[in-house]
């Protein structure tokens, strides 16, 4: 049912990319002896429908922008002009659907995949990409397990929860100086991974976890668990989950008269969170891997370019999606080949200056030294509070972000 009316949409997206590409082609024609063109498909897999669609579409747009830029730059690989083509698929943030989509992309013979958004989708899909020899860069999946399966094809351009969770925990300990916390997760691979990593580090730091609660990624009623937490009176409530839950949750916290601070991961650091929470969002904190959008080395130009093309602001992960494509192209250039077998080994050796900053991978495919920034909602806007680099965070007090 869902896919039935989605298909024309996706086809039209893919079609318009094709048409756009065709329309562009005659332009270099006046040049003498146009080079032979080599078409390479790039897959993009993220939720394009459902409650997380706004984040998934954002990623696809980032990929689209990178492909358009690359095609306009007329890159030459192995003596042929590179023409990239987007194959965007909708995984509905659903692990089962993600494997179907992965198989579809493998069957479509894409050279590389940017995706998926959810850890719960990236992990099952990665096996299929690995079997097909297709390199995969997730712009956003932060569950540590994703790169720990021993696949040579899995990479990510964000810090993972073993970095993000402890960073939040250290922030709670050093900056907020809390003594007691309540931890809630949404029972997804992402939410639970983040919450567990957080829990482990705060416990080690001597902070007491007074309540450990679970909800789901479909629920909007948290009154009962919040009432229970209220009885334990923690200094801080940490939520591992995504904005459709995080927004109503903080609203209900305020309704119940809970005074505890509220902190979460990147899944709730979105404009949508503020929209859903209204005034209650004020003072909520969330970490996000990477530098603030505006402070990214290529950030400002990227934000403007994105806005001009899609007539909306970057939601979250578009810069990561963009850079993922650029990392693939960079590897293709060095290998002088668009064959995944040839350029896959080059991805591991990446040293690329992307929109999000310098990109290099460790031997597992994780982003080396990915910085993490903690934000706070101030007057209805996410403002950066401080940036922490996981390597340096352990001992030194984090340096405040330059404003």
């Amino acid at each position: 049912m869902k896919t039935a009316f989605l298909k024309p949409l996706l086809l039209s997206v893919a079609g318009s990319v094709l048409l756009w590409g065709c329309g562009k082609e005659p332009a270099p024609a006046p040049k003498p002896a146009a080079k032979p063109v080599q078409t390479v498909k790039i897959g993009s897999a993220s939720p394009l429908t459902g409650p997380q669609a706004h984040i998934g579409i954002d990623i696809r747009n980032g990929v689209q922008l990178a492909i358009d830029d690359a095609n306009a730059a007329a890159i030459e690989i192995g003596g042929k002009q590179l023409k990239l083509e987007l194959v965007a698929e909708d995984d509905e943030a659903n692990p089962t659907k993600a494997t179907t989509v992965a198989q579809k992309l493998a069957d479509a013979k894409v050279a590389a995949v940017v995706g998926h958004f959810n850890s719960g989708a990236s992990i099952p899909a990665s096996k299929i990409y690995s079997d097909a020899g297709i390199p995969q860069i997730s712009p956003s999946s932060t569950n540590p397990k994703y790169t720990q399966q021993g696949f040579k094809t899995t990479f990510r351009v964000v810090a993972h929860d073993d970095q993000q969770g402890p960073t939040l925990a250290r922030f709670a300990e050093k900056t907020l100086k809390v003594k007691t916390v309540a931890v809630i997760d949404d029972s997804t691979a992402y939410g639970q991974g983040l919450a567990e990593a957080f829990e482990k580090t705060v416990t080690a730091a001597g902070i007491k976890v007074v309540a450990r609660e679970h909800t789901t990624d479909k629920d909007t009623d948290f009154k009962a668990i919040l009432t229970r937490i209220k009885g334990k009176n923690p200094d801080l409530i940490m939520f591992g989950g995504i904005d459709p839950q995080a927004g109503p949750m903080i609203k209900q916290m305020k309704q119940l008269g809970i005074k505890a601070k509220y902190i979460g991961g990147d899944g709730m650091q979105t404009p949508n969170f503020i929209k859903l929470a209204g005034d209650a969002a004020e003072g909520a904190m969330a970490s996000i891997p990477g530098l603030p959008k505006e402070q990214m080395p290529g950030g400002k130009a990227f934000l403007e370019k994105y806005k001009a093309k899609f007539n909306q602001d970057v939601e979250l992960f578009a810069p990561m999606g963009y850079d993922a494509v650029m990392v693939f192209i960079d590897a293709m250039k060095r290998a002088q080949s668009t064959d995944p077998v040839k350029f896959l080994p080059e991805i591991g050796k990446t040293a690329y200056q992307g929109v999000i900053g310098p990109i290099a991978f460790d031997d597992k495919g994780d982003l080396k030294n990915g910085p993490i920034t903690i934000y706070v909602v101030k007057e209805g806007k996410w403002e950066p509070l401080e940036t922490v680099s996981p390597g340096a965070a352990a001992e030194q007090p984090p340096a405040p972000a330059a404003k």
């Binding site: 409650p51 450990r212 009432t227 929209k275």
Partner: protein, 307 residues
Amino acid sequence: MEIFVQQIVNGLVLGSIYALVALGYTMVYGILGLINFAHGDITMIGALVALTVAQVMAAAGLPVPLILAAAGAAAILVCAVIGLTVERVAYRPLRRAPRLAPLITAIGVSILLQYSAALVWGKQYIAMPELWVPHKLTLAGAQFTALQLVIFALACLIMAGLILFIRYSRMGRAMRATEQNAEVAGLMGVNTHHVIAFTFVLGSAIGAVAGLMVVLYYGIGHYFMGFMLGLKAFTAAVLGGIGNVGGAVLGGLLLGVIESLASGYIGDLTGGVFGSNYRDVFAFLVLVLVLIFRPSGLLGRHSGDRA
């Protein structure tokens, strides 16, 4: 103690919303023997209509009571029309068909309504504008808002009104007659088609009010919200004895309180083995137990092949 009171308050408010939705299931079941699975989605449409009206009017800066009245009226109107249409188009032609046919049709209507809503409102969560600063009241250490009080009071008022209406009004008598035996009621001059259509309109209108309450209470709406709400309300109706209006009220309130207490205390009682995520399991466990000992629900009478 105050936490206990707080959980009871949460449960009663949630339960009164379940009860309102459950009324729609139980009235239709009582008269037609049909489980109208589309009822949860009619509630969802009521919620989204109310939300949209509130958004537009709040943006125009109109006074809050006017917004509430208009949102409620619009939701009731739209839901009543949808209820009437669904009955006329989807169920009436199947009145003499085998029991399975209208049941499957109901599931079809439910899916149709869900995805129609997805087309109109999109698949994202939609936020309800904050109409007023929540006014906090304290009772025995438990905090509750004026909104919770209003929801609970209004729900009780509607339920009491409905019970009186069914007992004393002319239409109510016709409804009871149709419930007992539609054919004989028809022979006695009751226009059963009218009565059934009226039941759908009434149930949908009450569902619309429940929808408005949901968006006011949780501040959020979504095309899929009717599914779980409908399932819970249906459970409440069965718990209380489906076909019995008083049973729906009792079942709804009971289910709300059980859920609330379960998520509040299940962790402590089991030493952390089961967490609050098991609250639905707990609610359905109670349902199973009740049905083992009272197969027709708490207040249901034994009614032969219909149970």
